[in-house]
Amino acid sequence: MNYKVIFNTIGRVAVAEAFLLLLPTAVSLIYGESCYMAFLLTAMFSFLLGVLLHLCFKPKNHVIYAKEGFAIVTLVWLGMSAIGAVPFVLCGDIPSYADAFFETVSGFTTTGASILRDVESLNHGTLFWRSFSHWVGGMGVLVFVMAIIPNVSDRSIHIMRAEMPGPVVGKIVPRVKDTAKILYLIYIALTAVEVVMLLCGGMPVFDSLVHSFGTAGTGGFGIKSDSIASYSPYHQWVIAIFMLLFGINFNLYYLLLIKRFRSVFRSTELWVYIAIAFVSSAIITLNVFPMYKNSSDAIRQSVFQVSSILTTTGYSTADFNLWPSLSKGIIFVLMFSGGCAGSTAGGLKISRTIMMFKMVGREFKRMLHPRTVSTVRFEGKTVEEQTLQGVTVYFAVYMLCILTTFLLICHEPFGMETNFTATVSCFNNVGPGLAGVGPMSSYADYSVLSKLVLSFAMLLGRLEIFPLLIALSPSTWTKK
């Protein structure tokens, strides 16, 4: 284990976080709030810590093997959340550190599950930092750091793999650094377009920024207790469409930019994603039609909720807790699906689901014709057996982890539906669940221990389980 390169990289990320913390400081200053000191102090602390780590650990050998990659990603995400939680406590908006940690993890993992009962009374700086953490966590901090630091080691693909979601992480240009840059530029551009479109509909500047960050990272922290419900239909449509856009594989945007339209339109994952969104919206619209007076409301409500849950964002314009069971059931299943691989969305990812269905089909064929030789094809290419095996194993571990998390929190006295949907929702980085943790309620009533368990579940979901489990297993750290 190359400790030096690990802590050196962590130092770099701490410095980057210090600079990110300056943004909420500025927001607080603009609104004349006293909590700017909280952000400034944390920023200074983070900066000093970063510089200290960077100076103390000067690696001779810059090679990052898979092991170091996993360790870096895990420690960075834990450390960032630990530091990011400090200003909430310092400025008094969230007095308990465990609560603040939950909130920050929920921010960075783009979950959007909140322990706050009344968000409207918070400082603007706090609200901004919460949503900004979505934006930072959405594309990944290490990817960001890789895009800006000068010399990236040849093997840094391991870090990118650990942080980017999806069964196979491919580069779009030869260098990791350039890939990271391009992805971030697309991310920034899309966010900027959303901000402008929200501003055009008359949303205040602060609100449009915060909501765009939440949409871009597919996070879901709102600044109103009824989330997006009180904004005009135009704003709701803009946010709904952008949520869907951020759930698409970013590589496809790059292909659009370099005018490879044919490869974009041939993407199976994209079409399945669109089909899922369309079919579920249609069914829910029919199902909830009696509740709303006119069809435009019914369509808007169902499309918004479907895109919010499918992309694991977690914004809401309606309390889907009050919807009929069929709609609630669809919403619950959508929580698992998640967006496309290589997007900012959480969940299982559409590509994994497609591969699993294809594998099931192949097994059927094999049972009927035992000597069949067949390969699984996806996106016009043969999928390697190793990748398929990875998908199967991932699914197994995913289910095991969800069940374990559920077991750990099922003693809470809120009933089966609340506890189970809370687990699923946190694990898939959605945010709201059903019943007691529905879109209009919060996670405030859970005990400290359960909050920590759920925070861990969110990290597991965001980093796709393996990096975290591997980095936390003792054998990684011993010399064997």
């Binding site: 898979a66 040849d154 093997r155 840094s156 693909i157 391991h158 580069k171 240009v173 260098r175 990791v176």
Partner: protein, 452 residues
């Protein structure tokens, strides 16, 4: 620059490593998924899995935007076809490995022109030429030539009882007056560009530049001149052996080739009737002794196995063969064998990678001062370059001592017309000259890079 490499065998990976270090964007194509995933783990390159001559694969790798396309798969025909398609799809320069002797004779020029190839590389031929150069001057560990062989750099290993142990370079020049320059020294893991007060120690590996005749004189003065090898034994009837034997016979040497495969032996004896071919297992010491290894002037181990080459070379050295050369392809083995005392090692992989690097730098600055020659020396820690000086070079007519050269850079030679000048502080560079520069720990693309 965007460079595409097709085929990730031994030579392919060496090339990838070299051009990545130069800062190019690299796309790699191979038809084996396991090779591709291995490469993508280790190098910062984009990988495409597919056939070398498959238009769809090439399109995925974005061949139309490639500045250089290098085909080094195992098959000559595939390389040629792949380069041809790439050229037609818009790749600017194409490089193919063509190793079959049939293609390398008179037809090569015609084929290069018809296929639009910018460069055809034949690793075996290049290796054979290098071996031949060493056999001509057995005192050296390695020889690199500049400017059509007018100017040479020889690497010498200082033996434990060497006469110049403990001498500084200034003293060395006083003691052995000849027109030469010690331009690079490797001691253990470190590589130095020495100044005048640098003290040489035995065990050092030093690089000396001079014209060919001056080098001869210096070696003679130092008392380490070995006579040119006359009787050479080659182990392994490979293609390299074929080319080498052909060259050696050309200058009237006696060559004996040993290989255990009868078919290979027959092929060689049919094409080169004057070579003495023996079919037998070269790993058997009795056979080697019977064939008179002890009375040979030189022994060259060219089997396909690095390990076998190294071990049998040790045996040859123990039989007091004056010059033992072994072909070792794996870098790791090469430095190990070097540490164990096997002094002369030739690696075809490295030779090819050097040729490709040189070519890539020449393309990169087709407007600036061209890189004529490039050699990586001392395990790649130093390099020697030959530049053509263009009329617009800023430091023309300024004496070298007034140029503010970077550290670890040395101007080792200026070639003006047919004259090779070993520069002192007073000499100047003129337009039209060829300048030979040594650099440690940095890579240069342009002659103006030497100014700090």
């Amino acid at each position: 620059m965007k460079i595409i490499v097709v085929g990730c065998g031994k030579i392919g990976t060496t090339i990838i490593k070299g051009i990545l270090a130069e800062g190019h964007d690299v796309v790699v194509i191979d038809n084996s998924q396991s090779v591709i995933s291995e490469i993508s783990d280790v190098y910062d390159v984009m990988c495409v899995c597919g056939g070398a001559a498959d238009c769809e694969t090439l399109d995925e790798a974005d061949v139309s935007k490639a500045d250089m396309f290098i085909a080094v798969t195992g098959s000559d025909e595939l390389n040629m076809l792949s380069c041809y398609i790439a050229k037609k799809m818009g790749a600017k320069h194409t490089v193919a490995r063509i190793r079959n002797p049939e293609y390398n004779d008179k037809s090569l020029g015609f084929m290069k022109q018809q296929l639009g190839l910018s460069l055809a590389i034949n690793p075996e031929m290049l290796a054979a030429r290098e071996l031949f150069n060493i056999l001509k001057l057995p005192s050296a560990v390695n020889i690199e030539t500049f400017s059509r062989r007018n100017f040479e750099m020889v690497e010498i290993r200082l033996k434990p009882d060497s006469a110049i142990d403990g001498l500084s370079i200034a003293d060395l020049r006083k003691k052995y007056p000849a027109n030469f320059l010690v331009c690079v020294v490797q001691r253990g893991e470190d590589v130095f560009i020495p100044s005048g007060d640098f003290v040489l120690k035995s065990g050092d590996r030093i690089g000396v530049t001079a014209s060919a005749t001056e080098i001869h004189k210096l070696l003679k003065n130092l008392g380490i001149l070995q006579k040119q090898a006359k009787n050479v034994m080659i182990l392994g009837a490979s293609r390299t052996a074929y080319y080498l034997a052909k060259m050696l016979i050309g200058i009237g040497n006696n060559v004996k080739i040993i290989d255990k495969e009868l078919r290979k032996c027959e092929r060689i004896s049919r094409t080169l009737p004057t070579v003495h071919v023996v079919a037998g297992d070269g790993a058997e010491q009795d056979l080697l002794l019977e064939e008179g290894i002890a009375s040979m002037d030189a022994f060259v181990a060219l089997t396909g196995m690095d390990e076998e080459n190294i071990l049998i070379s040790f045996f040859a050295a123990s039989q007091n063969v004056p010059k033992v050369i072994s072909k070792v392809n794996r870098r790791e083995f090469a430095s190990l064998a070097d540490n164990m005392g096997l002094e002369c090692i030739v690696s075809p992989r490295k030779i090819v990678a050097d040729v490709v690097l040189r070519f890539s730098r020449a393309i990169k600055n087709s407007e600036g001062s061209n890189v004529e020659t490039l050699y990586k020396l001392m395990d790649g820690k130093a390099e020697a370059l030959e530049f053509n000086v263009q009329p617009d070079f800023k430091y023309v007519n300024i004496s070298i001592k007034d140029m503010k050269l970077k550290t670890d850079i040395l101007i080792a030679g200026i070639i003006r017309g047919r004259k090779a000048i070993i520069p002192s502080g007073e000499d100047v560079i003129l337009a039209g000259d060829k300048v030979i520069v040594f650099a440690a720990g940095q890579s240069m693309n342009d002659l103006s890079d030497i100014i700090g």
